[in-house]
């Protein structure tokens, strides 16, 4: 059970593809930094491989003017929520 951290915008299709291939059935994905753009409903195609186990970092959404525009299937978490995800997942892999 891994926590995957992703910081690339959905235009970086290769990293989304590689992550999709590595993503396990009990894994969780957290979108941070420019990966917040993948949380918009229009970008939902790049997240199809992740089975709804997706969160996005609120602070990075707000700094990009994207708060309130997130796809309803994605959970918005703040920094405390980010920390909580690292508490419940023994290992964390960063994709960049």
């Amino acid at each position: 059970m891994l926590l995957h951290l992703l910081n690339r915008s959905p235009q970086s299709t290769a990293v989304y593809r590689d992550l999709g291939e590595a993503f396990g059935v009990n894994d969780q994905l957290l979108l941070i930094e420019d990966a917040c753009y993948a949380a918009l409903p229009a970008a939902s195609g790049v997240l199809a491989a992740f089975g709804g186990r997706i969160s996005v970092l609120e602070e990075d959404l707000v700094s990009r003017g994207l708060a309130g525009r997130v796809s309803p299937a994605i959970t918005v978490v703040d920094m405390k929520g980010f920390l909580a995800l690292t508490e419940t997942h023994e290992r964390c892999v960063s994709w960049f």
Partner: protein, 131 residues
């Protein structure tokens, strides 16, 4: 309580990685966990520059890292090989290489990659922040 270590690959102010890492670090220490060390690698070594002088109304990343050391004892480890290549040297290293000045000072420490392996093996969590 968990022991955390962070790995920072991002140069300050070039990418968001260093700021993301510092915000996460602040959350770790204010939530009852222990932030044992931060390892600065690749362009992340620039976070250790003693000459960093951002405008006063912006986040001062180097001071943010130093504050973690002062308040919580976090080790600030800088990869020596990545630092030397990029002109990040302590007084000792500047002497050794015959250079006139240096820009890495305590609490930042120039260390080897073995310290990163140690951080991976001996902490509960290692979180990487890269550009």
């Amino acid at each position: 309580m968990l022991n955390y270590a962070l790995l920072v690959h991002g140069a300050p102010y070039s990418h968001q990685a260093a700021l993301s890492a510092l915000r996460f670090a602040d959350t770790v220490v204010t939530s009852g966990h222990r932030l044992v060390s931060v390892f600065f690698y690749h362009d992340g070594v620039h976070n250790a520059s003693a000459l960093m002088s951002p405008p006063q109304d912006e986040v001062h990343l180097a001071e943010g890292w130093q504050r973690l050391h002062q308040d919580y004892g976090t080790q600030l480890l800088v990869c020596i090989a990545a630092g030397l290549r990029r002109g990040l040297l302590s007084a000792d290293e500047a002497n050794r290489h015959g250079l006139a000045s240096h820009n890495v000072e305590a609490p930042f420490e120039l260390t080897g990659i073995g310290q990163l392996v140690d951080a991976m093996l001996n902490n509960d969590r290692l979180i990487t922040f890269a550009p």
